[in-house]
Amino acid sequence: MRTEVRNEVSPVPTQVRNEVRNQGRAVGPPAPSAVMVAGLRKSYGAVQAVRDVSFTVEDGEIFALLGPNGAGKTTTLEILEGFRTRDAGRVEVLGADPGDRAAGRALREQIGLVLQDIAVEPYLTVRETLARNAGYYPAPRDVDEVIGLVGLTEHERRKVRALSGGQQRRLDLALGLIGDPRLLFLDEPTTGFDPNARRDAWQIVRNLRDAGTTIVLTTHYMDEAQALADRVAVMSGGRIVAEGPPSTIGGRDAARARIRFVLPDGYTAADLPLPAQAGHGLVTVETTEPTEALHQLTGWALRRGTVLDRLTVDRATLEDVYLRLTSGSGPDVPEPLTKGSTR
């Protein structure tokens, strides 16, 4: 193990930390991205769980794989974690191939995993469990510090089986952090949390990112991806159907406005000056030019001496965009708004 330290001192502590770690135990040549996936495919029998997925995760960002159950998120993550083999495609994690067992130990010293199901040995205490795992890493974090970080200080002497489900989940997170990973994988980290616990977990994840840890997480909560991620890839049916910062996900869809009102008596939707969709007693007009559309509609009503009752204008929420993206069959099928509205 090299012990020389380069003299490039960066003013940003996290960069120095990463730099030092890269020198200390790099798995391969320095990688430009923390994670690189290209053309990944995986089938279970006849079921294609992952179909041609590609993405990269840059050093120091929070990247979320968002999608409903069965979209292929966990399969993708488990391939990155080295638990599953792939059928095709290239995968690099911190510059190494996670499918290569020879690189396994060095890679695992630098990554932290929080898996989907809770599984911890029931008879050790919180502190003992963490002290045991700390011993597996060459440069672990301080046990007390990590216990404090996940808010289990007052429970540190309790046996794991006496903890509540949420507390066990926090212990699981602590086990993911104890090795002081450069890269942390979180598989649905807040499923089953109450709203307060979720917010606490989010803050922990943000703090980790701010301290220089790269984080890849899966979630089926739109708000979680929105609150945490620097970039989101929306998965559906084994494919990535949208990718980008949460604010741009959905692209034009998110930019569309919805104008809704009660159709005046004696008229049908076909009488309106713009294409509209009827349903639930209201008609909906979707448009990218709400000012213009509103002017046409209200003008139409005024000329006929009637009113547009319960008139509202709003934008599709990210939740709507997400539901639209993941309910269709994939990116190659254009989604007309008039048919795609699922609510």
Partner: protein
């Protein structure tokens, strides 16, 4: 800052220190579950106490190869306790740990697989040694002399434990779900123990010939020999035992799964 740099440059602890760390925590998990610990040791004790109460005293008989009844049962029940703790409990425990995801968590850490398994082997040897000491101690109360050849007993125990651990891991590799594990383990163990003369001496030459190629009878004979007959190690029997250990290790290495949901 300097602490971060220092920590990042700290080398891996050496393999033996890591192994010792693992052995300690494996022991801690075991002793923290007192019920499990008590039952692990209670079974052979109860067994030998009952046998002692039934067959207490008496002199050598040809049925027991010239040994007294208890002189015969102390080594065979000692062998049985090693089988139980190494082969039986290990297979059941690994199947359970796999099913509830604990093995997958172990795989998620940098702990090398061989360190994990050596930690388990050390545990099994410890349990076996305590079991054998208890059985010998109770045998003493029934007038059975202490083992004649201690080094041979110790060596037979360690080798036997290693072989039956390997077989336990092999069986755990072949079992898919943990509910079935105890049944599968018993289904294999019970007939094998029976034809190998653990409960009753077998005087059928054919059966003995067959059992001689299976792992339990050679282990029984090695222990009977080193306990009661002042003989050294029976190399042929040890050879058969080691061959089974190697088969078990081969299957284990090829087929062991850490993930509860195989691909």
């Amino acid at each position: 800052m300097s602490t971060a740099a220092y920590r990042a440059h700290r080398a891996r602890r050496n393999d033996l220190a890591l192994l010792w760390h693992q052995v300690r925590y494996e022991q801690l998990s075991f002793w923290r579950n007192p019920q499990n610990a008590i039952f692990t040791f209670a079974f052979p004790v109860v067994f030998i106490v009952i046998l002692g109460a039934l067959f207490h005293g008496g002199t050598g008989s040809s049925y027991f190869y010239g040994l007294s009844t208890m002189q015969y049962y102390v080594p065979t029940i000692a062998a049985l306790s090693v089988l139980g703790s190494c082969y039986g409990q290990l297979a059941v425990m690994l199947a359970a740990r796999r099913q509830n995801g604990i093995l997958k968590r172990v795989r998620a850490t940098p702990l090398p697989a061989w360190t994990y398994f050596l930690g388990l082997l050390a545990h099994c040897v410890m349990v076996s040694a305590v079991d054998v000491a208890l059985i010998v101690g109770i045998g003493r109360l029934y007038g059975v002399p202490l083992p004649a050849n201690w080094p041979a007993v110790a060596m037979a125990l360690v080798l036997g434990a290693a072989c039956f651990c390997a077989l336990g891991v092999a069986v755990a590799s072949l079992i898919r779900n943990s509910e079935a594990a105890p049944a599968v383990v018993q289904l294999i163990l019970f007939p094998l123990v029976f034809i190998s003369g653990t409960y009753l001496p077998i005087h059928s030459a054919t059966l003995n010939q067959i059992a001689g190629f299976l792992p339990v009878r050679p282990f029984n004979e090695v222990l009977i020999g080193s306990f009661a007959q002042h003989s050294g190690l029976a190399w042929r029997n040890l050879g058969v035992l080691l061959a089974w250990g190697a088969i078990g290790a081969f299957v284990a290495i090829r087929r062991f799964r850490w993930d509860p949901r195989p691909e």
